[in-house]
């Protein structure tokens, strides 16, 4: 087996600026997405994901400008998510230099949008974000449901069934985030990661809850993830991506070093 597992740092951006403080050594402007992307590229990141949290529709042009500037300098895959609702949004991002887009709420409100987008642009650039929360009680067989609005709104959709459906509709990759673990630093929800990874043929990215390098290892080994996404452990300079890769490789995981 020679296909490497991937490490993907995730950046929140608002109006073309990185927010939620990136703070690693020797960076001049931690808010400049181009500089942060360049730094992660130097650390050997396999891809970079941007989550656009820009609230105002009008300010979204700044995201396109940002993607275009990054794509001119950093030659690894770029994924952009957040607020993508139409094929026009997707076309604009791809033209600016994004390689993939991550569709979240719009997939839940209009699953046909995923089908239309994958037909139009190819499955290879359509990532569907699966925000899942455990809904079963302690003694029951585990069950997870899809939630929207940052984990506040239940949809009644079973996360594993929904994942299968999204792949049938053309998703080329799934970004599985545990809303129970997101921000906790307690590690991925390995149960939901494994259940979805076993249920679908496409690659799965594990997300939500990373607090240590062992969590990344577990995401791959126990969760069956093809890629792991993390934010804070890299942003605050606790670990470089290179260190994380070395650690995972030492645990027997195929990595691009």
């Amino acid at each position: 087996m020679t296909l490497a597992k991937r490490i993907i740092p995730c950046l929140d951006v608002d109006r073309g600026r990185v927010v939620k403080g990136v703070n690693f050594l020797g960076i001049r402007d931690a808010g400049d997405p181009v500089e942060v992307a360049r730094r992660y590229n130097e650390q050997n990141a396999d891809e970079i994901t941007f989550l656009d949290i820009t609230a105002s529709h009008e300010a979204r042009g700044t995201t396109l400008d940002m993607v275009s500037r990054i794509a001119g300098e950093v030659f690894i895959p770029l994924t952009v998510g957040g607020g993508i609702r139409s094929c026009d949004n997707i076309r604009a991002l791809l033209n600016a230099g994004a390689d993939k887009v991550s569709i979240n709420t719009a997939a839940v409100t209009d699953p046909d949008f995923v089908y239309e987008a994958s037909q139009r642009f190819g499955s290879q650039c359509i990532v569907v974000a699966i925000d899942a929360k455990r809904v079963s009680e302690g003694g029951e067989p585990p069950r997870w449901e899809i939630f929207t609005h940052g984990g506040r709104r239940p949809t009644g959709l079973d996360a594993v069934e929904w994942s299968r459906k999204m792949v049938d509709y053309g998703a080329g990759e799934l970004l599985v985030t545990s809303m129970d673990r997101d921000g906790t630093r307690e590690g991925f929800d390995l149960g939901v990661t494994r259940a979805i990874s076993d249920a679908v043929s496409v690659p799965v990215i594990a997300s939500g809850g990373v607090g240590s390098l062992d969590h990344l290892v577990a995401g791959v080994k126990e969760g069956g993830a093809d890629a792991v996404l993390a934010a804070s452990i890299f942003h605050f300079g606790e670990y470089t991506i290179e260190q994380a890769k070395q650690y995972m490789a030492a645990q027997g995981i195929e990595m691009r070093l």
């Binding site: 991937r6 590229n41 001119g72 390689d99 043929s201």
Partner: protein, 214 residues
């Protein structure tokens, strides 16, 4: 000198253009479907993304099929095929129920087996997405400065198998198949991976293309 990236409506051409501009700031890189501009260029890139039936269909619709065949037969003009642009050079693809391609190199395009397991019993995912090691099968000027086994970035479900061993420039083994992820003949070199997204190794390959004189 001008490098033309053929714009027949399929694929993310801007990333390719930006990467080539990055390695050759003195060349003019143009994204075009104008036959005269393509013919006048000193080098040509044939990209491709999405379903192969759509790629072949759009090439036909934009009336560029004949021109691309003409370019392929010109043994002095370097042409780089990328992703579906590599697959299109073969005889046929089994995607979309069977699609006839440009027939420049004998061979076919088939799908990875998505039921195959790796040595730890994990299901191998299709699309084949991520960084894999490319083994160089024949020496070629485009491999200059790139070690065999170097990783490049892939995202695809179908792959090329060339009939003629002389055309197979590089390969990967995945899901029980040997995929010829780099193929070449005369002034044509084609890759399944995305050099424009493969960090330093990819940029080196593009730099080699820009200076290649077959």
């Amino acid at each position: 000198m001008t490098i033309a990236i053929i714009d027949y409506g399929m694929g993310n051409l801007h990333s390719v253009a930006k990467a080539i501009e990055h390695v050759s700031p003195d060349e003019r890189v143009t994204i075009t479907r104008d036959a005269r501009a393509i013919k006048g260029a000193s080098r040509v890139v044939l990209p491709g993304q999405g379903a192969i039936r759509d790629c072949m269909g759009e090439l036909e619709r934009t009336e560029l099929t004949g021109l691309v065949k003409e370019l392929l037969s010109d043994a002095s003009k370097p042409l780089l095929g990328i992703c579906v642009g590599q697959q299109m050079l073969m005889d046929k693809s089994e995607e979309n129920g069977g699609v006839r391609c440009l027939g420049y190199m004998p061979g076919r395009v088939t799908r990875f087996d998505d039921t195959a397991l790796d040595d730890q019993g994990q299901r191998l995912k299709v699309p084949h997405m991520g960084w894999n090691r490319v083994h160089q099968h024949h020496m070629h000027p485009l491999w200059e400065g790139i070690p065999t086994g170097e990783r490049f970035y892939f995202v695809h479900s179908y792959f090329v198998q060339a009939d003629d061993d002389a055309h197979a420039m590089g390969y990967i083994d995945y899901a029980g198949s040997r995929a010829h992820v780099a193929t070449g003949r005369d002034a044509v070199f084609a890759v399944q991976f995305h050099p424009e997204k493969s960090a330093d190794a990819g940029l080196r390959l593009l730099a080699n293309f820009v200076t290649w004189s077959p």
